[in-house]
Symmetry: C2
Subunit: 368 residues, 2 copies
């Protein structure tokens, strides 16, 4: 089994290369000063350095639960398990469901697919449409698998967001077959227009809802979480504890301190949304101007812009050429189960400035 | 499969309970001021908040490698993989060797045995003697499994330390059958007398050597590592990356900053050794005085004191009684594959003061 293409690229490229490949948030938006203040206060907490409990510190779990409740999804700290990034949340669930069949979107998150392979899950892909997964095909597949992994908000890689009707229909199908939905939501807060309703809120006993601070604050803290029914969550504890006993204590206390000022966090989120919306617009405009043969929808949130050339262009071959000219992206075939070359591309637009965006697209165009 | 008895106790006991159960280091020895200084400097590093590479930051891997090299075990940063505690190091290896047979010591580390079970490894126990594993039995078992998990320094739970001859013999056997040794060494720095030679240093191409900062600095940073041959290490990357992309960046930068002053770290280690040696002595003396029917060896390092009553006493039943009187320890049967009740006990002596040690032993005695 191969390592993640994205992680390998991230380690191989030099500092001059323009990267539209990773899922890196913009460093300029990291609230460094506020995090420093939070860290200084957190360091005085006598508990900060000792071993902690496996599900995470109470303060942070309460803060996360409170955000769900305010959004109309009643949640207590006992519904929250703190994980080492939402990557680990995914790993824990894949280990829990090892050897099972699972329905996923196609295209889907590369990291999740690698985790499923590693834990011997058998993936069944269902096509994503512009307003979410194809519901009829989803039901056909879910009836058999009774387990699904979906990213309904600003999906990675496609930027697709499910419409309200499809959210309702998916929830009904999961309940009908008494199955389980794994709803991955690292980008939910990064909306340009409006926040969507979690599908999990319609099936609190049949879902794992995954969140992360990596895209909204900073990734290096490695803090994410799983929101689930208390009994479901308990069944994951043996795995969480086996993997790393508990997630980084210092990170948890820093976050709990930072999140005490909810308004500050909201202002920070708004700042990210505004910045990313501008970049998404600019990226889309420049694509239309410089490389109009690349068809795409302008993103409504998240970190990615997805689209396609016409049939016949192999973007996996193209990226090897682009790498020589010092610009990279992720070719669409990486996000499919069979990885057959295709004309699609995922662009990350959050980690480049306007100049790099324009220059990068021109470089790609020159490789066509 | 059940959760770890120790983790469950840790979560269940109240603040009044005297705990000889966990493996908690003494909070009084945490270098809070020095870590605060290191943190403040680390926070100014522009890279501290972004995603990092999966094997860990260069600075920290170089510092760890340099300590090995100075001890006569030539190592570069490319031999080091940073993990989220050495617990994760163990998990990564168990996942890598899933479904395989493995030779372990009996008694052995409870957490490792749980991880092996979770990853469907088939464990074969070989009896520990006062100077290390029974070599003849080890060879018989290793010939078949070609994979072993050993804790040669101040073993958890038994406090056993391998003599130099047995280290040589184990290395020869692993080489003879071209197998793999997983050498777990979280306590190696906590010697009261002298540092031992890692068995892995005699078979650098056939070993994974595991280390941790949880016992020498603070546990909540969740930073450990695997030292191995570069090619062996590469084969673990897909698993590491699937589990959490990379270990906490903030923790890594704090550690790298702290470790710049090697003499300071050495002074700190000496302080821990002196403190733990005093506590080990006191614990042993009090046991001899209050409960002489509990036979044990005085520890030569590490965090645990292990011993046994005479046959017929079931310490798993005893601990339930002791819990009511607000004192806990880990009954010996937890450290065996079959968990059959036995008269053995593991005491942690690092997390209690002299008063608690005396009081706790008296409470246990009153339950006999």
């Amino acid at each position: 089994m191969k390592r993640s293409f994205i992680r390998e690229i991230l380690e191989a490229i030099d500092e001059e290369t323009i990267s539209f490949a990773g899922g890196l948030p913009s460093e300029k938006l990291f609230p460094r000063d506020d995090l420093k203040v939070a860290t200084l206060t957190a360091l005085d907490n006598p508990k900060i350095y000792q071993y902690g409990i496996s599900n995470g510190i109470n303060e942070l779990r309460e803060q996360i639960a409170s955000r769900y409740t305010k959004e109309g999804f009643p949640t207590t700290k006992d519904n929250i398990l703190i994980t080492t990034g939402s990557q680990q949340a995914m790993y824990i669930l894949a280990k829990f469901f090892e050897n099972k069949d699972i329905t996923i979107e196609e295209p889907s998150y590369l990291g999740a697919m690698n985790i499923f392979r590693l834990n011997h899950l058998n993936m069944f892909g269902v096509k994503l449409e512009d307003d979410g997964i194809n519901v009829e095909e989803f039901e056909k597949s879910f009836k058999e698998t009774k387990l699904a992994y979906l990213i309904p908000d600003f999906q990675n890689p496609s930027a697709t967001t499910y419409c309200d009707e499809k959210r309702e229909e998916i929830a009904k199908i999961v309940k009908k077959y008494d199955g389980i939905l794994i709803e991955d939501s690292p980008y939910s807060e990064l909306f340009f227009d409006k926040k969507n309703i979690a599908i999990s809120s319609k099936l609190p006993k049949n879902s794992f809802h995954l969140g992360s601070f990596s895209k909204t604050l900073v990734p290096s803290l490695r803090i994410g979480w799983i929101r689930a029914d208390e009994e479901l969550l308990k069944s994951l504890m043996i795995i969480k504890e086996s993997i790393d006993l508990h997630s980084c204590g210092i990170s948890q206390y820093i976050l709990a301190e930072y999140l005490k000022d909810e308004e500050k966090y909201e202002r920070h989120l708004q700042e990210i949304r505004d910045d990313y919306a501008k970049k998404a617009n600019y990226f889309s405009e420049q694509l239309n101007k410089i490389m109009p043969e690349f068809k795409h929808q302008k993103p409504k949130g998240g970190m990615f812009l997805y689209g396609s050339f016409e049939e016949g262009i192999d973007t996996f071959a193209l990226v090897q050429e682009c790498l020589k000219k010092k610009v990279v992206f992720v070719p669409g075939n990486q996000f499919y189960i069979d990885k057959v070359p295709n004309p699609e591309i995922r662009f990350n637009y959050t980690h480049s400035n306007f100049e790099q965006i324009e220059k990068g697209i021109k470089l790609i165009k020159s490789c066509l």
